[in-house]
Amino acid sequence: MVESLLSLESVSRIYGTDVEVHALHQVSLEIFSSDFMSIVGPSGSGKSTMLGLLGLLDVPTKGNVKVNGVDATSMNDFQRSRLRGDAIGFVFQQFHLIPHLSALGNVETALLYRGLSPKERKKKAAESLGKLGLGGREDHRPVQLSGGEQQRVAIARAIVTDPLVVLADEPTGALDSENAENIMKVFADLKSPERAVCLVTHDMEIADSTDRKITMKDGEIVQDLIQGSEK
């Protein structure tokens, strides 16, 4: 059964006080379990702002953000951070791996402060790396890994907590075409009945390879396509 995992309800985001910038205007969106979707649009269309709000990294000026039906807008930082850690997994264009930690250490970071013993953390992190084909590379530092491998470590980190939604911001932007193709296969494999995968990109080829495509322009959703048919 398809469930709503993450939703924006008439969300607006305005930056600045003296000069107001309307980054998002009255946007509503629902992300369902088993969604494999993309958000596309030109620069300044509000994609990153939307990613911040969906990922609970930012709070809307107006409207509500709900995770599994729970309103996260009124939560304090502690509650929102906890919810973010449990429900959302992030993958970024620049990987954002912590340079002084090994691949295993980077994945373990997502499991910190959850009452797990180091042994349990290491086991889970190693399993997650194994799923991404990085078994045997646990002790490698980010500088010892290729771009594609670094991004796979970042994906392993994103899924190690078993999140409801994996949010990826331009995940292939820093990769060559071969690695980009491989990473897209990894994302496609992340699809599951309990999870949604949402890619934010300006690459139409990538957007077309997803099951659902949200197109944005000037802070609004202008199109929401599922398998080629307009919603």
């Binding site: 990294l57 912590i98 980190r157």
Partner: protein, 396 residues
């Protein structure tokens, strides 16, 4: 508890990842704590040496020098025999010995050394029979002048330990020394007299012998050594009155260990100054920590952003940086205290001091180092916690 251990691990990992930076920020507290511990320790250890010396010497010996209250007219002032008697009857006095130093006598161990000993004369001291008891000094060998020697005005002498070494005197050796050509038999060697080092190279003879051979007029001493284990200062003040009793004779007293005692008191103002300087060094170290950590927060903004994205709260981020400062403070305190203790040990060893290092000083200043480091880490920690993850991830 697991959360606490996680925080410590993350902080230690953060510090060990940048070893040179960590070493540099550690230098502040290490130098601060090390300087304070070393300065206080050296100050106290140097006094400890004097205190140990005082323990050996005792602080209850009074020296009374004869003083003629009427001016003297060129005569050497003396303390009359009856005055010596009065001093010895004072309730706190346990022993009194009078001495008289004879001048213009050339003492020779053998004839060939005449020129040398004319240039550097050896003191000849006429003394009472209980000098070793009063000075609390044992004999190295032989015996001191006894009652028989005194009654017979025997030409026997006791020599100081340094003089015995100088003369090459062997223990138990039958030996005479020549005083202006008169031979005296050496009957014993007196050990070192720490409070009166001039006695170490002196020759002691009986008062009766001195009166007969060296025309000292009578047996009145010029100096009294008085042992008063209780009320020492009070006795020292009483002696001039007891000697004089309104007459022309007088005495001026001193307690030789007084000066040493004053010197042995730890210089509190120096300690305060040292602590102020050390405190200042710690504060400078703290400013260094704050500076380096603030820069580190900017450099690590991407790391902070991703940690926030992974669900770490603002408080956790602040605690992570605060723990890094705490670890710096703890390590700085420990290594600083050890470095300071090492300097105190080396100084004490090289200068023969008695090493004194108070545990409270070590622990106290280490804790100050921790407090300064944590206080210095507060601002960078709050700065790290306030960073907006979205901003840092976009910029990073």
């Amino acid at each position: 508890m697991k959360r606490f251990i996680d925080l410590v691990r993350v902080a230690v990992a953060g510090l060990t990842a940048r070893k040179v930076r960590t070493l540099l920020i550690l230098l502040g507290p290490i130098l601060g704590v090390g300087a304070i511990v070393a300065a206080i320790g050296i100050n106290e250890s140097s006094k400890g040496y004097l205190k140990a010396q005082l323990q050996d010497l005792g602080t209850d010996l009074i020296v009374a020098n004869a003083q003629d209250s009427l001016g003297g007219f060129g005569q050497t002032p003396r303390i009359p025999e009856d005055a010596t008697e009065r001093v010895s009857r004072l309730p706190d006095v346990t022993s009194v010995t009078g001495t008289y130093q004879i001048s213009n006598v050339v003492t020779l161990p053998f004839d060939a050394a005449e020129d040398y000993y004319k240039a550097f004369p050896v003191p000849i001291i006429a003394t009472g029979l209980n000098l070793p008891e009063t000075m609390e000094v044992p004999m190295v060998s032989g015996r001191f002048i006894n009652k028989f020697d005194y009654e017979q005005s025997a030409r026997v002498a006791v020599i100081g330990r340094d003089l015995a070494d100088e003369y090459g005197y062997l223990r138990g050796e039958q030996r005479t020394i020549s005083l202006n050509g008169i031979d005296y038999g050496v009957v014993g060697v007196l050990d070192w007299v720490l409070l009166e080092p001039s006695m170490d190279s002196a020759v002691f003879i009986a008062f009766s012998t001195a009166e007969k051979d060296w025309e000292i007029g009578n047996q009145d001493p010029t100096r009294l050594y008085v042992r008063a284990p209780t009320n020492t200062q009070l006795v020292a003040e009483e002696i001039p009155t007891v000697v004089s009793l309104g007459g022309p004779d007088g005495a001026r007293t001193s307690v030789p260990t007084d000066l040493l005692n004053a010197e042995s008191q730890v210089d509190e103002s120096l300690n305060t100054l040292t602590q102020l300087m050390g405190g200042l060094a710690l504060i400078v170290g703290g400013v260094g920590i704050a500076n380096v950590m603030s820069i580190s927060v900017i450099q690590r903004s991407s790391e902070i952003g991703i940690r926030r994205a992974l669900g770490h709260t603002r408080t956790t981020i602040a605690m992570q940086f605060l723990f890094e400062a705490l670890v710096v403070g703890v390590l700085g305190g420990i290594f600083g205290a050890l470095a300071g203790a090492g300097v105190v040990w080396f100084t004490s060893w090289s200068r023969d001091y008695v090493m004194i290092l108070s545990l409270s000083s070590l622990v106290g200043w280490s804790l100050v180092s921790v407090a300064v480091a944590v206080a210095s880490g507060l601002y960078p920690s709050m700065k790290a916690a306030r960073l907006e993850p979205l901003e840092t991830l976009r910029l990073g």
